[in-house]
């Protein structure tokens, strides 16, 4: 592999790497706007000019780093000469003369390429004093589609958005119109920017020209607290950054993972946190007065009374009927593992994980086939691997009626939790215990309802459609009496057996990794940021990628 020196730092790169990427490898950021590693190199913004010396011979002009490819030894690149600095300064001036400088009302402020490079490479005063700025009257807030708004005055004409729709989304709704200083971005006549990945253009737009309808004016970005997380929209498990302020989630942004979602995520996933705001929240444990069997009123209590009630109910049920467990594709693998241990202790055979089949969500990837999710939950695979597999279909038929105790974790496992008939069927269990973050009709029908955290309030792992286990962090703590299900389950388990109290996600993961062959050799703390592929034997077609239908049929 050829070696290249950038500002005195020498790195070895694959032949054909451009100088921007080589710079990143050497720890040098070559400023750039139009270059994006997944889009055709167009060399348009001219921000990436550098000085290149080829075996002691300086190239006559400054070169664009994005379109200069290292193919052999002997290149020495400088990004810090007076000449380069002068060029960067000149380019920044060009970008700014016609820019509205409306940072105070711009959503991009704080994470804006123009602000950042101006600060680093620009000058503080303007020589554009006597002329009028170019504006695009009437083009300040054009909805390009349902999710993206264009303010043409702010655009720096880098064409990233155009190339994204053409080359990644494959839909090509956007184009460059007009020319010279009047050039503008727009949708082709009769088209709107409505592909499933549309909002990615907001992410790659270096400035505030493209904003997300959902996030517009929602928050100044410097107030956002950000944590690495996983989207729960489907089983692809796009890596995201969950961005929130004081427990109020403001947006999801895709987080780069070349194995899973590359730089992208779908618009549906981006909106998937909205259920946390829309649906009513279960805020305190509720227990039905003794012997009510669905008729006496439920009352709010503290956690110990509630867990006592569950403990009593389960212990007392021995011999009076079946005990069944209904899991969910939204549980973390660790929660599912504890839930399955509880089921083991009770000798419960019925422990299925129902998930909804959603529309397909497909994310294009680099040098890999696209990845597709068909289930509307992130972790059916992890839950099943952790031991939640087996038993009949409780959602249909009268299986629940034979149950002395039915424990559901959690209340928002799918659409069925909102379907009055299904709720009525599940209600026929003598004792219905429901864990949940939402106060769904199912939670309202429960004899014991336990308020637990949603995925922004807890940490854990999910196993995606390609059997990759990925860890996510807690973005913010739950409030009030809400506790992570892991805590609750560990409390509950320790009421039956010693050794289960006060478990953290890390301990549970390491324990399941030591017990489950699929996870062999993994540990919470050493789990790579990009996740790890599980060892799933070919011989388990029921758990393979053939789709949820097959998997569920086989588990019945």
């Amino acid at each position: 592999m050829p070696k290249v020196t950038i500002n005195d730092r020498t790195v070895e790169v694959e032949a054909g790497t451009n100088v921007i990427d080589a710079g990143l490898k050497a720890g040098v950021l070559v400023p750039h706007y139009c270059y994006h590693p997944r889009l055709t190199v167009v060399g348009q913004c001219r921000m990436c000019l550098v000085e290149i010396t080829d075996n002691g011979k300086k190239m006559p002009k400054l070169q664009t780093a994005c379109s200069s490819y290292v193919t052999k030894d002997g290149w020495s690149v400088r990004t810090d000469t007076p000449e380069v600095a002068e060029a960067q300064k000149g380019m920044m001036e060009f970008f700014l003369i016609n820019h509205p400088l409306d940072c105070p009302i711009c959503d991009q402020a704080g994470e804006c390429g123009l602000q950042d490079y101006s600060f680093k490479h620009g000058v503080a005063f303007s020589r554009f004093q006597y002329e009028d700025k170019r504006t695009y009257p009437g083009r300040e807030r054009i909805p390009l589609g349902a999710n993206v708004v264009l303010n043409m005055n702010r655009c720096i004409q880098c064409t990233r958005c155009i190339r994204f729709t053409e080359e990644v989304a494959g839909t090509g709704e956007l184009g460059f119109f007009n020319r010279g200083a009047r050039v503008e971005i727009g949708t082709f006549p009769g088209k709107e920017l409505s592909n499933p990945l549309a909002t990615c253009v907001v992410d790659i737009c270096p400035v505030g020209a493209l904003t997300s309808t959902r996030f517009r004016f929602a928050e100044r970005v410097w107030y956002l607290d950000k944590k690495p997380s996983i989207c729960t929209g489907c089983e692809v498990g796009c890596n995201i950054t969950m961005e929130q302020r004081r427990g109020d989630i403001k947006r999801y942004k895709p987080r780069f993972n070349v194995e899973v979602n590359d730089y992208w995520m779908c618009d549906y996933g981006r909106s998937s946190f909205e259920r946390y705001k829309k649906l009513p929240r279960l805020t305190s444990p509720r227990v039905r007065a003794e012997g009510g069997n669905g008729h006496a009123p439920v009352v709010s209590t503290g956690w110990s009374q509630a867990l006592d009630a569950v403990h009593r109910g389960i212990a007392g049920a021995a011999g009076t009927g079946e005990i069944a467990f209904l899991g969910s594709g939204f549980l973390t693998t660790e929660e599912a593992f504890l839930f399955a241990r509880l089921a083991d202790l009770m000798g419960a055979k019925n422990r299925s994980v129902p998930v909804d089949l959603g529309p397909e969500r497909t994310i294009p990837r680099y040098k890999r086939p696209p990845i597709t999710g068909r289930e509307a939950a992130p972790n059916r695979r992890g839950a099943e691997l952790a031991g939640l597999a087996g038993g009949g279909d409780l959602l249909h038929g009268d299986g629940a009626a034979r149950c002395a105790v039915l424990v559901v974790c959690d209340s928002d496992f799918g659409q069925a939790a909102y379907d009055p008939e299904t709720v009525a069927r599940l209600r026929r269990a003598k004792l219905l215990v429901v864990f949940g973050w939402s106060d769904s009709p199912l939670a309202q029908a429960a004899d014991v309802a336990l308020p637990v955290a949603h995925h922004g309030e807890k940490e854990g792992t999910f196993v995606n459609v390609e059997w990759r286990v990925q860890r996510f962090e807690r973005a913010f703590p739950p409030t009030g009496q809400v506790r992570p299900a892991l805590d609750v389950l560990s409390d509950l388990l320790s009421r039956f057996e010693a050794g289960w109290s006060q478990l953290s996600a890390a301990t549970v993961f390491d324990r399941l990794a030591s017990e489950l062959p699929a996870f062999a050799g993994l540990s919470w703390h050493r789990l790579p940021a990009t996740g790890a592929a599980l060892h799933v034997p070919e011989a388990q077609p029921k758990l393979s990628d053939q789709g949820a239908e097959t998997a569920r049929e086989a588990s019945q």
Binding site: V41, V42, G43, Q44, C45, R46, M47, L49, K61, L62, T64, S67, A87, G90, M91, E93, F94, F95, I97, N98, R127, F128, Y130, E131, R134, I156, Q157, T159, G175, F176, N178, R179, G180, A181, R182, V183
Partner: protein, 432 residues
């Protein structure tokens, strides 16, 4: 120039019979092609190399060398694209060739195609050149009917198809890669180089791009030999006959053929001198993008290297002559308006810089300039120069820089007077 120069490229101008294949043949046409077909393709390239023929489109790149960059081998098709987009202000020489001697161009294209083994040639013609396009189309048809084009060129077994492709009227489509994009049906905007068209050109295949006049020279080089060609001109590197399109304040503006390297004074005399006996104030030697020269350069040899040494360029050899009534600020403001209008807008320095220059120059012309504007203009030029994606950016700064460098007193006058010191000519009155 010892012996009297006989026109070469324009020898058939004014002979309507040259428009027909029969007439062109009677005048000696297609002998070059017939001869080339008996040679090895590489020998044709060598002959053109030896002739010293340099591109007549603007950059003056040696044509034979350009042809030799085309990879050999048959794994990819190859193309010739003839640049007939002629849009540089002041330039009207290719048009003369196409309208009066279309077969000369077809013959030149055919020889080039044979030399580089291209089976397809596109003549990309400026959209406004309707007459040229019609004449070329007619000539092409005749050539096909006579077996000069098609599956078996002059019975040699060489296969060649030639098409006229009409542009939609954009200066930037004259830039070679902008032209390729346009030819492929895309928005006409230049591509990043490398890769160069000789490697990845039209439809991803190796492509030669040459100007009309360049290609029109080729049949003569083949029939009369590289040595004859080299005998015309200033030196080894500036050879052959050259068309000069002279316009502005001269008595008889038009396209003239001279040996390359004739002095500007001789050329001016040939065009009847300054009109109405006026004084020469300035001249542009090579189209709108060439820096403006002052009368002290009147004895300049008009060839590629001498003009470059004098701080300008021969470009497309479109010579624009200005007399003492001309306001340089207004002239350059108008040129800047052109470049701003024609910039494709994809790259930052050209998109923003040409616009800014136009605004500043407009301001100066209207008496709203400041002392600092000269510096500002130079600095904008510096930030565009060598940093734009294609050469349009560099072209746009040529006139501006030369205005500041060579006519500083005129800018000062505009600033001091708070108005343009020149009477506004009547033909400018409707806002042009």
């Amino acid at each position: 120039m010892a012996a009297k120069f006989e026109p070469v490229l324009t020898r058939n101008v004014g002979k309507p019979e040259a428009l027909t294949l029969k007439g062109y043949r009677q005048l000696g046409g297609y002998e070059g092609l017939a001869k080339a077909l008996t040679m090895e393709p590489d020998a044709v390239i060598d002959e053109v190399k030896k002739s010293g023929l340099r591109g007549r489109g603007g950059a003056g790149f040696p044509a034979g060398m350009k042809w030799s960059f085309i990879p050999k081998g048959k794994d990819k098709p190859k193309y010739l694209v003839c640049n007939a987009d002629e849009s540089e202000p002041g330039t009207f020489k290719d048009r003369l060739l196409m309208e009066n001697d279309p077969h000369q161009l077809i013959e030149g294209c055919a020889i080039c195609c044979f030399a580089v083994s291209a089976a397809t040639c596109y003549i990309y013609i400026r959209g406004e050149y309707t007459k040229s396009a019609v004449i070329l189309e007619r000539a092409l048809k005749e050539a096909y009917d006579a077996g000069i084009l098609g599956d078996n060129v002059l019975g040699s077994g060489f296969k060649l198809n030639m098409y006229v492709h009409r542009g939609a009227g954009a200066y930037i489509c004259g830039e070679e890669t902008g032209m390729l994009e346009s030819l492929e049906g895309k928005r006409g905007q230049p591509r990043v180089k490398p890769p160069f068209p000789a490697v990845v050109g039209a439809f991803g295949a190796p492509t030669v791009i040459n100007n009309v006049e360049t290609l029109c020279n080729v049949p003569h080089i083949i029939t009369r030999g590289a040595d004859w060609f080299k005998s015309i001109g200033t030196d080894e590197k500036n050879t052959g006959p050259k068309l000069y399109a002279i316009s502005g304040h001269v008595d008889r503006p038009g396209t003239y053929e001279h040996p390359i390297g004739i002095t500007f004074r001789e050329m001016l005399d040939a065009a009847g001198g300054m009109w109405h006996g006026r004084q020469l104030k300035a001249f542009i030697p090579g189209g709108a993008s060439a820096p403006i020269l002052k009368p002290d350069q009147i004895d300049l040899k008009m060839d590629f290297d001498t003009v470059a040494k004098a701080g300008s360029m021969l470009g497309s050899a479109a010579v624009i002559v200005m007399d003492e009534t001309t306001c340089m600020v207004r002239s350059v403001a108008r040129l800047s308006k052109f470049f701003n209008h024609e910039s494709c807008g994809q790259c930052t320095p050209c998109r923003e810089g040409t616009n800014w220059m136009e605004l500043v120059l407009d301001r100066l012309e209207h008496g709203e300039g400041t002392e600092r504007d000269s510096q500002l203009l130079l600095s904008i030029c510096k930030n565009i120069g060598g940093q734009s994606l294609c050469a349009l950016g560099d072209a746009a700064i040529g006139p501006v820089k030369s205005l500041v460098d060579r006519f500083p007193e005129e800018i000062e006058q505009h600033v001091r007077n708070r108005a343009c010191p020149f009477p506004r000519p009547r033909y400018f009155e409707n806002g042009a």
